[in-house]
């Protein structure tokens, strides 16, 4: 049975191996370059004392690549579910070869178990290896530990990618068994896997552990803690990030800045504080806005979880994926026993 499972997986396995080797080589080479560039830059900027600016430049130059790597890794489990999971049973049902397989002297349970283990192991290993390499690659760019908590970043580093791959592959197998046709199963698997991949970290994760919310007055006292001010929807919403935020914490949500009556503060409601934006001398220092708004009893708040929640959340999100994978695998074996083909 092992021979058959491996033989059937041979083409896909070899293709995957080629891709993994190529991707690993790329990550290794560029990662090493990144590190040497970083080291060289550090030497230079320490001498001239321009490290803040240098870090910004370094960041700006390389973070887009990291984002792309993360994005590719983010969809990889869904792709694996599509290409390896969906056709596993569906193809055999379509072509009728299940009748050949199920008449050999191995039980159906063993047949599925071996195929599942072969393909599942390959999927988990491939995704796991690449995510570990990607995490290593991105280390020099990790200035702020809170970057780890981003939806895409969190799902493609440490434990979660292993569990996510396990889920995607078992999901694909189950959908293939359910739909009995490879091509529709591939489409549905990709859609569902991607949906779950987005849903779990975005919607579920913030509720897994308790968050802390701090509401504070916006004035010159908090001005030096602010490290980001964002205007959205043409200036009708203002967001202030920074005050009361512990180092490396995960910003779960930041609502728009509101005045005493609860209305959103905007460039229109308090034009005098925003006039500075249009001064020909250029944008005002970041501490100006909070100081200006301080006269108007304006409030902001931030909901966050501390940096220490990182690993518990990794375990919990992985556990969710693994539980889903177990559920879906259980269904597959149940389906097999019912012989409803």
């Amino acid at each position: 049975m092992i021979w058959l499972a491996l033989r059937q997986f041979r083409t896909q396995g070899l293709a995957a191996l080629a891709l993994v080797v190529a991707a690993s080589a790329y990550l290794l080479v560029t990662g090493l370059n990144l590190r040497s560039e970083y080291a060289a830059d550090q030497v230079l900027c320490t001498a001239k004392n321009t490290c803040d600016a240098m870090m910004s430049d370094f960041h700006r130059a390389h973070v887009p690549t990291l984002d792309l790597i993360h994005l590719i890794l983010f969809v990889t489990p869904a792709l694996i579910g599509l290409f390896w999971g969906a056709p596993l049973i569906a193809r055999e049902l379509e072509t009728g070869t299940y009748q050949l397989a199920w008449n050999q002297s191995v039980t159906r349970a063993r047949w599925l178990t071996v195929k599942l283990l072969v393909v599942g192991s390959a999927a988990i290993l491939a995704v796991g290896l690449l995510s570990m390499l990607a995490t290593w690659w991105g280390r020099p760019l990790e200035f702020d530990a809170s970057d780890r908590f981003g939806v895409v970043a969190f799902t493609t580093r440490d434990l979660v990618p292993f569990a996510s791959a396990a889920f995607a592959i078992t999901l694909g197998i189950a959908i293939g068994a359910l739909m009995r046709r490879s091509v529709p199963a591939m489409a549905v698997t990709f859609a569902v896997a991607l949906f779950v991949q987005i849903f779990v970290p975005t919607v579920l994760r913030p509720h897994l552990l308790p968050s802390t919310t701090v509401t504070y007055a916006v004035n010159e006292q908090i001005a030096d803690q602010v490290h980001g001010i964002e205007l959205r929807n043409g200036g009708s919403e203002i967001f202030i990030v920074g005050p009361f935020l512990p180092k490396g914490a995960w910003v779960v949500s930041v609502p728009p800045v509101t005045d005493a009556s609860g209305q959103n503060v905007s460039v229109n409601t308090h034009p005098d504080c925003f006039a500075a934006e249009n001064k020909p001398a250029g944008p005002a220092p970041i501490s100006d806005l909070p100081t200006c708004l301080g006269q108007y009893h304006v409030n902001s708040s931030v909901t966050f979880q501390p940096a220490s929640h990182y690993w518990p959340l990794q375990w919990m999100q992985s556990a969710i994926y693994l539980a889903l994978a177990a559920l879906v695998t259980g269904w597959c074996f149940w389906w097999l026993q019912r012989r409803r083909v």
């Binding site: 059937q8 009748q99 199920w102 002297s105 039980t107 012989r339 409803r340």
Partner: protein
């Protein structure tokens, strides 16, 4: 001797569609059994249930004394070739034999190799590139080399040309002669079955219409041509299967003693195909069912 296939009131429903209704069979070992019936009569369903691909809705079935596909031991005793003889199109002939060897404890590698050589199959050829007849032979080799006690073949020659068909049957019979294997094979073409089968099961409208040794069936059925009369006027002990009347003549197909007592009729034996057709027509059109001269005549 345990029957190779024993079914009691076997029924299979797909939602509202009834594929098999109340089938009861006791097929003795050591025979080549023909399962005949029109398309959609339930032949494939019955065979799939027999080899464990499907579970019945109600009723019981035992194959070689065990419920189908209950474990590797039982699976090893039954060889199955599905309709359209599926094979792994990307795998070569040699790969298929390796699969057989790896997955079957009683695999006879010498036999498999001999057959492949005899059939002039290129071991390196991918199964998808073989002709229909060659694929069917490969599938048969896979089933036969497991050394099963029972071979179940679902319309194995339906899509083959006459040459390939004859070749397949020859190889099948050779295998039966060699290993004393029992065979259940389904077809809707009678001429193939007549040559090789010594036991017949007729399925029509999802029910078993007739089952028995071909010799007995041939001996027991007669065509009686006589002057116009009713079925009741025939002597006792004859089951009337079909009746046709013109102004002056009646033709009955009857089942009874192998030797008919002489009477005022002309009696002929029937060809197997005609017997089968008679039962199939009767089942398909119950309105034309004639009354039996003696309803208690056992089947």
């Amino acid at each position: 001797m345990t029957a190779v296939l024993q079914a009691e009131s076997l029924t299979k429903n797909y939602g509202r569609r009834r594929a098999l209704v109340d089938c009861t069979l006791a097929i003795p070992p050591g025979h080549v059994v023909g399962l005949v019936g029109p398309n959609g009569a339930g032949k494939s369903t019955l065979l799939k249930i027999a080899c464990g691909m499907l579970a019945p809705s109600t009723g019981t079935i035992e194959v070689l004394g065990d419920r189908p596909a209950t474990g590797p031991a039982q699976l090893a005793r039954v060889g199955y070739v599905a309709q359209d003889t599926p094979t792994y199109s990307n795998l070569s002939v040699a790969d298929h034999l390796t699969i057989g060897a790896a997955m079957n404890p009683r695999w006879d590698a010498t036999l498999a190799k001999e057959r492949v050589d005899q059939l002039d199959l290129d071991p390196k050829q991918k199964a998808g590139k073989l002709s229909g007849g060659q694929r069917a032979q490969l599938a048969l080799t896979m089933a036969v080399a497991k050394r099963p006690e029972l071979l179940i073949l679902d319309e194995p020659v339906a899509s083959l040309d006459p040459l390939a068909r004859r070749s397949f049957l020859r190889h099948l019979m050779e295998s039966v002669a060699d290993n004393d294997t029992s065979v259940i094979l389904s077809s809707h073409v009678m001429s193939d079955l007549e040559r090789v089968c010594d036991y017949l099961v007729v399925l029509e409208s999802s029910r078993v219409q007739l089952a028995g040794e071909t010799e007995d069936l041939l001996a027991q059925h007669h065509r009686i041509v006589c002057t116009r009369r009713n079925a009741e006027d025939l002597p006792q002990g004859l089951e009337v299967i079909s009746a046709e009347h013109t102004d002056r003549q009646s033709t009955f197909i009857v089942r009874g003693e192998p030797r008919l007592r002489p009477g005022d009729w002309s009696a002929e034996p029937l060809a197997l195909e005609d017997i089968v057709l008679t039962y199939m027509e009767r089942a398909a059109d119950p309105g034309r069912r004639p009354t039996s001269a003696d309803p208690e005549v056992g089947r």
